[in-house]
Symmetry: C2
Subunit: 408 residues, 2 copies
């Protein structure tokens, strides 16, 4: 599968960072460059390109009557600022090649296909520049209204809708067929497969995630002259909250994951006590009750601790993404395809959001993992060996062939 590796290397040059990683944020010039290349690859392979209103890109193979249902496969081309070369782009490019392979197998087996097949790249999966994440797939399912997605702003106040227009990817075409299945192959971004020396995971379900963005409101004053007792320092309150989150996760001792990784400070000048600070917090666990216990206790604690330093707080956003069970038939299909190919496979729960989880809301969806070295992701050193990527591609192709040709 040298073609897959060559394609991954080619896309890795678009937005390449000096440390070997990729920075390809939604709606930027490098996002446009990657989209342009992907559309060219779609056309060159005889697939029909489509760009919808939120900028999701499709490459459709008509294998059955044009009005027949469609099976979708794909992932995303955007990355984190400190992204690696595999997260997302692997699923898009493996999907592209798998669609081509299934199309060729259909040509050799006339009448076998009962469904059409399309590769897709979803807009702004990462949620790095624009929050929330999973934007394109959520608009596709109707979970997020198009106008609300357009209105999401980046750190500079630029709306997603404008950013998409600026790069020419606020599209006007749509997928014409009814989607009946979605399959995504992705690097694991954790080390379960590596630790088990397994090749393939069929993801059975996801953890629950609560994302809470908190605004801390203090008062601007001069850092040089304001007595310590009179300060209302929003950055101090935010700092205490960040440490409190770690402590509450440790207190619960249930293996939850939590983070505070984005902060906005105003005026962020060395000599003005910060008057307004926003922090993006998240708590994740497979058990929703654990997420609620930690996050509710955390919120009560930071409200109390902020009041102690005379800083007010308000909740700017609070979203709970419930754990989602992926389609069980899809899990069985993935395990069966891996077994047929002689690969070691297992089922996993994932702690991370993926487009497949958004799609599952209205289309039976499947998520296939291949190992990530050291579990490292959102890091320039993210790595999966070419042979491991090939195994994921092979399983994907078999699963798609099965879905396209299955009766009933």
């Amino acid at each position: 599968m040298n073609e897959l590796n060559a394609l991954i290397a080619r896309f890795a040059r678009i937005g390449a960072t000096e440390d070997g990683g990729v920075c390809r944020l939604t709606g930027t010039a490098v996002d446009k460059e990657a989209r342009d290349l992907f559309i060219r690859e779609i056309v060159d392979r005889g697939l029909t390109p489509k760009v919808d209103a939120i900028g999701n890109l499709f490459g459709v193979a008509i294998l059955a009557p044009e009005s027949a249902d469609v099976v979708l496969t794909g992932s995303h081309l955007d990355s984190q600022p400190t992204g690696g070369r595999y997260d997302g782009v692997y699923g898009v490019l493996a999907g592209l090649l798998a669609v081509q392979a299934v199309k060729e197998r259909c040509a050799a087996n006339p009448g076998a296909a009962r469904r059409n097949l399309a590769v897709v790249s979803w807009t702004n999966e990462e949620g790095a520049r624009f929050q929330p994440s999973l934007t394109g797939s959520s608009v596709f399912t109707g979970a997020l209204r198009l106008q609300d997605a357009y209105a999401c702003v980046d750190g500079e106040g630029i709306p997603l809708g404008e950013a998409l227009s600026a790069i020419g990817y606020r599209g006007t075409t749509q997928l014409d067929q009814n989607p009946v299945r979605y399959v995504e192959v992705h690097v694991e971004q954790a080390d379960s497969l590596e630790k088990s020396s397994a090749d393939i995971a069929a993801v059975s379900e996801s953890w629950t995630t609560r994302k809470i963005s908190v605004m801390f409101e203090g008062e601007y004053s001069h850092t040089g002259s304001t007595p310590m007792a009179l300060r209302r320092d929003a950055l101090r309150a935010a700092s205490r909250a960040i440490e409190a989150l770690y402590q509450e996760v440790a207190n619960e001792n249930a293996g939850a994951h939590a983070a505070a990784a984005r902060i906005s400070v105003y005026p962020n000048s060395p000599n003005v006590v910060a008057g307004r600070v926003r922090v993006w917090f998240e708590v994740r666990h497979e058990d929703e009750a654990v997420v609620s216990a930690i996050s509710d206790r955390f919120l009560r604690r930071i409200e109390r601790e902020s009041a102690d330093v005379r800083v007010g707080l308000s909740i700017a956003a609070d979203e709970k993404r419930l754990g989602t069970a992926l389609d069980p038939d899809g899990v069985a299909l993935v395990l069966s395809a891996a077994a047929d190919l002689g690969y070691k496979a297992l089922t996993l729960k994932t702690s991370i959001g993926h487009d497949a989880l958004a799609l599952q809301r209205c289309v039976p969806s499947s998520l296939i993992f291949v190992p990530s070295q050291g579990g490292l992701s959102h890091n320039p050193r993210e790595f999966t060996a070419p042979e491991a990527l090939d195994k994921g591609y092979a399983v994907l192709t078999e699963v798609l062939w099965n879905m396209v040709t299955a009766k009933g």
Copy 2:
């Protein structure tokens, strides 16, 4: 002194914020607008405008032989993002009117003047957009090299030299006369005068300030999948350090001031554990030994506490501004002028940096305070009553008259 209030109101419209404050950062379009207006005011009053290489603006009154020494008065036109209407601009405009008043008195008293007189606005006193602060006055005294000042970058990486060129204020003229005295009038930005019901303070000396910028180095990883024990979260380490600074100041219990008001987080994306965070810390006290005790203990503590969470740290900048005694003759002159005018005056130490403190390095300098309501500054609600501003202007004018006409 209705003219002073009218001028202050006119400048407050340049960069006015919705909440009644002023945001006039160095090298921006509103900085240019304020500079343009100031130059027009200089010319309209028959003074000679000069703009030096770092963008300091002078308005020179030739009262004595042109080659005679010059007395300087002024302050700064830049503000914090959450600035008030008085900080800096008051000293520039009171200085402008005082130069004009002294010039007229000299015209009425031919032969009285032994020195020339000039008003000055120093570039980037605040250090809000570009660090370090006191840039223009420090270049003027030679404490900061011009090339180093030009190379200071803002949060977007734009150098000060380019920003000054862009607004047309990288000047080519210089003050021709030898400066022998500098006098600055400023709002107190603290509440000592208000508490004492006094009108005027002659500042005798400044506190020592240590400004330390620390880089925390962790590792980028996925917030969703990385187990808590494996994270190397630079934002967590920075948060612990911010709280530690408050605690170390409280432990010392010596009335020191300290702050962490500026932070830079990379990549600052909700789903990437922060790999690199820089925080600007400062510690201030009248006794240098207290500053050293707190800051040294703080640095040892955060090094240990960061290592506990597997985050490295390095010192990106470490500047100690030693407490400075202002010229004692100037203090006596200010107290004497205030007494002559029937105002209640006292001497004060200041915890805040001012251009007068930078100037004192090579020119005997004086700093005059008028009250600030509630001591509030770097805040849109900063306020000093017009009558209180007028008293400062009156003292300034008498002091300048004395300095311009004094023998020896």
